[in-house]
Subunit: 180 residues, 2 copies
Amino acid sequence: MARTSSDIALKTREADEASPGPKSRLDLFKFVPFRLNRLAAEVSSALAVEYQERHGLDIPAWRVIATLGFRNDACSAQYISQCTRTHKSTISRAVTALLHDGLIERVENETDRREFRLRLTKKGRALYEELFPQLLRREDEILACLSAQERKQLSALLGKIEESLDLIQTSEEADAKQAY
Amino acid sequence: MARTSSDIALKTREADEASPGPKSRLDLFKFVPFRLNRLAAEVSSALAVEYQERHGLDIPAWRVIATLGFRNDACSAQYISQCTRTHKSTISRAVTALLHDGLIERVENETDRREFRLRLTKKGRALYEELFPQLLRREDEILACLSAQERKQLSALLGKIEESLDLIQTSEEADAKQAY
DNA sequence: GCTAAATAGTTTCACGTGCAACTATTTTGG
DNA sequence: CCAAAATAGTTGCACGTGAAACTATTTAGC
């Protein structure tokens, strides 16, 4: 209490988009990169309750489960890494843990013995089926402050930025970029 | 190449918002928390070039600089921690480094000797003045894919979510929540 | 006024992550 | 075919971060 500077405005909204002129400062609270970072961190921790506390999964593990659960056929660690934009070593460790827990299994690829195809086990599938509705519910809670139309807007806007940053890749494109 | 499953659709946009009915899967690429995470990470690394490579600052240090630069008067580490939503130990380490580099200085608070008031040095101010236009330019590049109106929309939508998640706090409110 | 609780800030510790090096396998090119 | 480059996946290492413990100081309660 008694912070003498308490009255400094911290409100974010209604950026002064009108004047791109000679700003002599940067308001962190209107700075989109900062806002995205903060928002993502907050949303993540809100979701963590579901997969972490309730199911013992961390984010990378959940991404593996989610990718395998969404697709029917088995796919490689590489593929998961690329399309979730998660570093391959991170995926590798998550895969090791999930194998150990019997949530996924891997099938040797006869034609290329470097790569393994991964798929959910029965147990893994069951977890996926239980988990994803809970996560969708959380997402819903988070977006409850938006109308249906606003949600559509948000989705479209994010899509545009993603596209412009090349975050949306076809598998072909993903093949081109290694690193991940 | 020759990924047999290459043709699986990875496109994100145009979520099937219409049917909130019995989905039996979760498409990670339509899942807003995932998208926010990925987007924030990507945007961060795009900006990192500016403050990291060109000025040797990391994100926490930049947040300290930005907060002090935006405000005229000196403020406490606590304050910076709360309003940037960055853990206090992280801010503490950033402050130590910035003090060492002579970018900020601290003034003893006579009425409360536990707390220090922080402010930019001349050198720090100069860095701020040089850095923030570059960052705004980057932000501009990233949002270049959006029209002026879309940017306004995005800002408003983020604002609503932030508000609903209680991310926008007056200092008063911030005082209530500790932890940070 | 003295003890207990609260607060600002620092530091130690454990842990997750990215990078780079490594192994094993496959592909390419001469 | 064989050597060199490329690729899938793993692992060692360094580093940044959050939680919790800690120091110093202030406030609250009796």
